[in-house]
Amino acid sequence: MAATNFSIEKAANVKLEVCRSGNGRPLVFLHPGDGLDCESRFFTELAQEFDVIAPSHPGFGGSDLPDHVTTVDDISYVYLDFLANLNLKQVLLVGVSLGAWIAAEMATKCTHRLAGLVLADSIGAKFGDRHTREIADLFSVPQYRLGELFYYDGHRKEFANQTDGQLERLARNHETFALLAWSPTLHNPKLRRRLGLIDVPTLLLWGGDDKVVSPDYGRQFAAEIHGSRFELIEKAGHYAHEDQTEQFIARLKEFSEQVTGSSVTTSAIL
């Protein structure tokens, strides 16, 4: 198992807690709204294939939340600065749910450090009319029940055995998630029209039984991004990366090989 390094990186005047593990092509992973778990099976297996660089978003995990960061748009600028500070090149930028929303906003602004973009079960855009809520409201459900919406089998996460520190971290994550996404409900009304600016190869991975954003929503997301590919993962919900970890990572590997001829390690660039 690859060793995991924790560090604090400063980007756009925000201190970010960063978890890094593995070798290979740099893969920046942007976590969903409940935060980053570097000890998860998904993270461990991902680090077998890539040089995984996973920051906690501002206000999540051990990362600061300064006054000037209150929106996903703000965070996208923080992360563009983050990529520049680490001098990352030919990056595979992968986001899940909230992380995918942030990744999409980043890619509408600047893609020159990216080899490819993977948006998994992304929230963040609106396609339907004003009478229709397309994204399940993750704030109208108590945090301890969110697993019912996230997982294919609807299981709730176990919290009873976690330490107070771990639980407070999760509670703070949820608080920051609401700061970013309370209203408009889990989306930026302008994002849809900006998705056409994305000019890197893009893969949209979607849980076939996603109860937060349906595969149809995902297809509409893909339709706005030129040349993007939409792929379903069967027997998976909103957290397809956890429901079908092997298949999810296999798709990432395949996509990574397609977007450039050979993988480039960070150390080779530096």
């Binding site: 006054d67 209150t70 704030f139 109208s140 459900v141 108590p142 945090q143 301890y144 709730r156 919290f159 009873a160 976690q162 107070d164 639980l167 407070e168 971290r169 999760l170 509670a171 703070r172 949820h174 608080e175 920051t176 998630f177 609401a178 700061l179 309370w182 209203s183």
Partner: protein
């Protein structure tokens, strides 16, 4: 002591008609327009009676709920400003977290204060957390927005030399200019409700009246903090007029009827419990340490006290006897009500305002009879209790 009569203007027929939740995600088609119209008129008439009997008056507001038809304190008070003559009129309160336009709030305060000839008192409260699902204002990191709105309203009411601009973190105005200004100069007395120690101290620093609603343990914790902070800031003890307590009252000539009335009042509390757990604690309303406890427990609960003073768990439905033991219900004969209030009053070193909530499923006749009895046999003794210790605003 001043006694303020308060009821929530409920549409209580729905409590029987609706199965399940009666807040946020209930429907309005159960509201019979003729019945609701009569109820609203009745509630106004009861406040007029209260005014004639020497009570002061408290009103509130809630949203998307059959427990309270008042959707705006200031709408209700603009009616009462005309229909009453002497009573002080307390809005407790205007929920700042739910409102997007503090300037408009300042204008309405000034209007009602002017209309009433300076009888208004105002609590600018945060609001019931689950109603943020209705207003859609962000609950996360909202205390900054609350205090900015509060500061802006205070400045809008007291700055009387032409417009000022406001370029804050949450609110932006080119010209803030409230006309007419308030009748009371520079502004009406301000109140604050809280469940937290830090807000109690802030209320003292700002020289506001601190109101604790229906929780004796909170009063026991918050009053000393308020007094301590007040002494530190103003170098003199806080007058009793700075502290208020809201409790329920069921009163009649004989004890059995009084207790039965108390039980009818508690039908309101029972109704308020019918709120989906999905909405009770929106994200960010509770600090992470508190939210972590709910995560661990795998359930959310309202802030209602669940145990008796000796630690015994309370019954699942509110019972008048248990509420008396917890000093949130004062019920029985006039002597019983006075003695229970006196005991609680002594246990917290006194307070100057008793916010008397009735309502529930009491009929109009029962309400008026209760008001008359309280005015005749309890209120004079309560006034005597604070005689000489009461500093008016």
């Amino acid at each position: 002591m001043q006694t303020w009569y308060f009821s929530e203007q409920s549409y209580h027929p729905a409590w029987e008609q609706v199965k399940g939740d009666i807040r946020i995600n209930t429907s309005s088609d159960v509201v019979d327009p003729a019945v609701a119209h009569q109820l609203l008129k009745r509630y106004m008439d009861e406040w007029v009676v209260a005014d004639e009997l020497g009570f002061d008056i408290m009103v509130n507001e809630h949203h998307a709920t059959h427990t309270c038809m008042s959707v705006s304190c200031m709408l209700t008070l603009s009616i009462l400003a005309n229909r009453t003559k002497k009573a002080r009129l307390l809005a407790l309160g205007v929920p700042l977290l739910n409102r997007y336009d503090p300037f408009r709030i300042a204008e309405e305060i000034a209007y009602v204060d002017m209309m009433s000839g300076g009888r208004l008192e105002v609590g600018l409260v945060k609001g019931t957390p689950f109603e943020l699902y209705v207003s859609n204002a962000n609950p996360s990191h909202s205390m900054g927005r609350y205090w900015e709105a509060h500061d802006l309203i205070e400045k809008a009411l007291t700055h009387q030399s032409g417009p000022f601009s406001w370029e804050g973190e949450n609110f932006h105005y080119r010209y803030v200019n409230v006309i007419p200004r308030c009748f009371q100069q520079p502004r009406p007395p301000m109140w604050l409700t809280t469940l937290s120690a830090s807000t109690a101290a802030e209320a003292a620093r700002r020289n506001m009246v601190l109101a604790i609603t229906a929780s004796a343990p909170t009063a026991r914790g918050a009053y000393p903090l308020y007094r301590q902070e007040y002494m530190k800031i103003f170098q003199k003890p806080a007058g009793l007029d700075k502290l208020a307590f809201l409790g329920y009252v069921g009163i009649a000539k004989d004890r059995a009827t009084g207790l039965a009335r108390g039980q009818k009042v508690l039908k309101f509390v029972e109704a308020t419990e019918r709120t989906s757990p999905n909405f009770i604690m929106p994200p960010g309303i509770m600090p992470p340490s508190g939210a972590a406890k709910m995560l661990k427990a795998g359930e959310v609960r309202s802030h209602r006290t669940r145990v008796l003073p000796d630690g015994t768990p309370m019954s699942s439905k509110p019972l008048v006897g248990e509420y008396i033991k917890n000093s949130v219900m004062f019920s029985g004969t006039p002597d019983d009500v006075f003695n229970q209030l006196k005991e609680f009053y002594d246990s917290v070193d006194g307070f100057g305002h008793f916010l008397m909530q009735m309502g529930g499923t009491l009929t109009s006749e029962e309400t008026v009879d209760s008001l008359e009895l309280f005015a005749r046999e309890v209120a004079p003794r309560l006034r005597e209790l604070t005689n000489g210790k009461f500093v008016t605003h």
